[in-house]
């Protein structure tokens, strides 16, 4: 037909879906749905990794896909859901910017991301390099999500989504980082979330809320 192999077509659709999920996260105010979207993003990432692994025949990518599945699709969403139930934080407050303007900023960010990705894609030798722009866009959109939210839980979801974007970037630009680095990053993410779980309970114990507006007393004047 148009000469693009079938697996690449799948991969490009997966990349497009990833971007779509990032926009959905940007507009979503229900924390539970936000976590579900994060899990969906993880699942898409896992699928993309599998397609690339199958295409290139690199066995370490299967390990990395399994890691994504275990950590980002199953364990972290489960942990976050548990925290949400235990802490009873279901809704985020009205974001600093209303949803429509946030989406517009998001579109600008995506255009910027593709500009940024141009020189990287130019030297990447992978067949998947067209997706690099999307990976950068996912990172920047996650960043935007973090900036516009005030609840600790949504910020953490944004943080994890950023990590997903980085991971997808590494995947599409170089077929993944060396195994030892990937394992280390996964370990760090895991520990970060466990630390965070402990941390949330400490905040909760102290303030009876997870609203970060309570955490704004340390200013330069003091």
């Amino acid at each position: 037909m148009n000469g693009v192999p079938f697996d690449l077509q799948i991969l490009n659709s997966l990349a497009a879906l990833l971007l779509l999920v990032s926009f959905a996260m940007l507009s979503q105010r229900r924390v539970v749905t936000l976590v579900n979207l994060l899990a969906l993003q993880g699942a898409l990432l896992c699928a993309a990794t599998l397609v690339i692994a199958w295409r290139t025949g690199k066995s370490h990518l299967y390990v990395s896909a399994a890691l994504t599945l275990g950590l980002k699709v199953i364990f972290l969403p489960w942990l976050l859901h548990r925290l949400i139930r235990r802490l009873e934080v279901y809704w985020d407050t009205e974001p600093a910017l209303n949803v429509a303007s946030t989406m517009l900023v998001g579109v600008v960010v995506v255009v910027f991301a593709f500009g940024l990705a141009q020189p990287i894609a130019a030297i990447a030798s992978t067949a998947t390099r067209s997706a690099i722009g999307i990976a950068v866009a996912v990172v920047l959109l996650a960043f935007l999500t973090m900036i516009t939210r005030s609840k600790a839980m949504s910020q953490v979801v944004g943080f994890l989504s950023m990590e997903n974007g980085l991971f997808f970037g590494a995947m599409s630009a170089t077929y993944g980082m060396p195994m030892i680095v990937e394992l280390g990053v996964a370990l760090d993410v895991l520990v970060a979330m466990l630390v965070l779980g402990v941390f949330f309970f400490q905040i909760r114990e102290q303030f009876d809320s997870l609203d970060l507006h309570h955490l704004e007393s340390l200013k330069e004047e003091t």
Partner: protein
């Protein structure tokens, strides 16, 4: 062999203290583990001096004069801080600010933190460097919130999220570096993140991508260095955590972050053939120096005051590395050493002073010279040293940096001098009142651990008067490695 011992000692210490950290003898175990680490670091240093650079564990670790000097500095300050922390934490326990359970967490995480810093310093793999830097943040987050006060939770959250986001930028930079390297080094790319391999081919790396990578790496690791305007987490984390942690954060972690930036700069400079990295480092450095020295005036909390002073000194070091060249690099390395020793000495005396006054507010700390002369003198001498008064070592390094700046970047010299003057006035005025002012507090019967304070200051004094030849050679070798103009 020395190397395996060096890394396994703090890790073993962390595990042991994780089980027994609340026992009465735990602080002594903490000291013993730190001392053993120091000895291993000395052995490793001796080996590097005698045998030259080492590549270990399938090239994953790499020791050269640049990092081995930071390894021994880290191990040394780690040991003295453990000495200081024993009486300090005992008093905190007596005052009811801590429970034995939290003390266990503290001891275990302290050793883990040392281990992550040593891994970050010695690794040859830029990916592992990232992992270790992030692990260093994670191991200290729960230490910053150790007192569970609202302010400390806020500080911990800021530390976690700002450094997390910052370091995510560094990961992106690392990925970009990997992309650029893989197209040159080829193969399965297993070696494409190893610093030694990158260094060998740095001239062939694609400049645009490397430039982009450096921006992300600098912003990422720069957040951990505390460069303005990415410094927001630093004063809070220093002020709200327990004082031994402030001392190691300021004295060691910032150094490790600078080390990461400089390692990346060496690669990038070799690939870009332009002075973009130098200019960026100088820019960030100058902004931090100026910004921090003016903000010093607005501080009321003594630990925040010295945290801002750390930002200022990190700015000076970054600026010096930005100028590059043999002399500036030498001065920057010397400044890293003396800043680390002096600042931790200051935090030791500040810790005891605020513990006695029962407050970290400077207006509540008065007349240390009458209530506890040794603490007072420690704070006074430490402050004079950090402000760059001769004959302390900070004077020597700042003098070198200023004279080099006059030759290479004349426009920057007045800005630096102004900032140093502003910082001097801000800190000296406050410290003078705290040390010599009128007091209502009585002398307290409690013997603080001031040996580390004066040991550090003595070394800084010696470095100001005379740098031993072996140390000077060492600095010179490291400065040559870093290169620049």
């Amino acid at each position: 062999m020395e190397f395996v011992v060096l890394l396994s000692l703090p890790l073993a210490g962390a595990v042991l203290l994780g089980f027994f950290g609340a026992r009465p003898w735990a602080p002594r175990l903490n000291i013993a583990a730190s001392l053993a680490t120091l000895l291993a670091a000395c052995a490793l240093t001796a080996k590097v001096i005698l045998e030259g650079n080492l590549l270990l564990v399938r090239e994953q670790f790499f020791i050269d004069p640049f990092n081995v000097f930071l390894v021994s500095l880290t191990a040394f300050v780690g040991f003295t801080t453990a000495l200081f922390s024993r009486p300090y934490m005992r008093v905190e326990l007596d005052h009811g600010r801590l429970t034995p359970g939290r003390l266990r967490l503290y001891h275990s995480m302290y050793q883990l933190f040392m281990a992550t810093m040593l891994i970050a310093l010695t690794t040859n793999n830029l990916g592992l460097l990232w992992v270790a830097m992030e692990a260093a943040t994670l191991s200290t987050v729960l230490l910053v919130t150790l007192y569970r006060t609202p302010a400390s939770l806020e500080a911990g959250w800021k530390y976690f999220i700002l450094c997390g986001v910052g370091i995510a930028q560094a990961l992106f930079g690392t990925i970009l570096l990997y992309v650029a390297a893989e197209s040159v080094l080829g193969g399965e790319g297993v070696n494409a993140l190893l610093w030694t391999h990158l260094d060998a081919v740095k001239g062939q790396l694609e400049p645009t991508v490397i430039g982009l990578a450096f921006v992300f790496l600098l912003v990422g690791y720069g957040t951990k260095v505390g460069l303005a305007p990415l410094h927001n987490w630093l004063p809070d984390a220093h002020a709200e955590g327990p004082t031994p942690i402030s001392a190691v954060l300021s004295g060691l972690l910032l150094n490790v972050a600078i080390y990461a930036v400089v390692r990346c700069k060496v690669l990038v400079e070799g690939s870009l053939h332009s002075d973009l990295p130098s200019r960026m480092l100088m820019g960030f450095g100058l902004v931090s120096v100026v910004f921090a020295s003016f903000l010093l005036w607005r501080q009321r909390d003594i630990k925040r005051l010295f945290a801002y002073s750390s930002i200022e000194h990190m700015g000076i070091i970054t600026f010096a590395f930005g100028m590059g060249g043999q002399v500036a690099n030498f001065a920057a390395l010397l400044h890293m050493t003396v800043h680390s020793l002096t600042k931790s000495a200051i935090f030791f005396s500040v810790g005891h002073a605020s513990q006695k006054a029962g407050s970290q507010l400077m207006e509540d700390i008065r007349g240390l010279i009458t209530t506890s002369p040794t603490i007072g003198w420690g704070l006074m001498l430490g402050s004079l040293a950090i402000l760059g008064m001769p004959p302390f070592g900070v004077f020597a390094s700042e003098f070198l940096i200023l004279t080099t700046a006059m030759q290479q970047q004349p426009w920057a010299t007045p800005i630096l001098l102004l900032a140093l003057g502003v910082a001097f006035a801000a800190i000296f005025g406050r410290v003078q009142q705290m040390v010599f002012g009128e007091t209502t507090l009585k002398r307290l019967p409690h013997s603080p651990a001031l040996l580390p304070v004066f040991a550090h200051l003595a070394i800084v004094l010696v470095l100001g008067l005379f740098i031993p030849p072996f140390l000077a050679n060492w600095y010179r070798a490291a400065a040559g490695l870093i290169g620049g103009h």
